[in-house]
Symmetry: C2
Subunit: 126 residues, 2 copies
């Protein structure tokens, strides 16, 4: 448990990857407490930089991320977390993955359709 | 080209994924210039926080990362870059992926063998 939280002001980067498909679903950040809660609970828990507090992914949507494997990198400042994603999509905008825009001739273009209605899940479109 | 470089002091997170296998190989950071060079050259170029300068991945090892696709996430502060990795491994410690340690009963354990000798490639073991 020797993660290096010093490089990003108390945080490490956490890459979330679908355990079965290999798709990268999102990138978040964890402080030491979020990491501990992730390990103890088995559900990915982040530190929200915008809300400045712990954030259990799926706490409002129900789209929790069940942890299957956790790896760290050579300098212990990033995590790769393989998960089973509960629900149709990880992204709060209604997509399976947050990475739903691809660079195409210098422009970011939507590269996949929405899989759920974020208004129905979160109450308001964001 | 509306990436948000404000959240990490001029940087965005860049997740590097093997284009053909889906394996996550490393996480780096890009400033605006590194991103531009990545797009223009077709080779992943990072901003090294430790050396405080641009870093063409593979400039010393030859293990360059050929860009296949670039995606960004819902809030435009992270990149997912799918690459063809030239050479046997991406990690400067001699592994295919920087994520070669897995959490196992509370301890980080090496989860794969080295694929090349870093001393032979970089001149010194790091």
């Amino acid at each position: 448990m020797t993660l290096d939280f010093t490089k990003l002001n108390g945080l490490v980067t956490a890459v979330i990857q679908d355990y079965s498909t290999g798709r990268v679903l999102m990138v978040g950040f964890m402080n030491e407490e979020a990491f501990r809660k992730t390990v103890e609970s088995g559900y990915a828990t982040f530190f929200s930089r915008s809300r400045n507090k712990l954030w259990l992914k799926g706490e409002s949507s129900g789209h929790k991320l069940v942890v299957k494997n956790i790896s760290t990198d050579c300098d212990f400042d990033a995590l790769l977390i393989q998960v089973e994603a509960l629900g149709p999509g990880v992204c709060h905008e209604g997509y399976q993955s947050c990475f739903f825009r691809r660079l195409d001739s210098g422009e970011w273009k939507e590269s996949e359709p929405r899989v759920y209605d974020p208004e129905a899940v979160y109450g308001s479109k964001s």
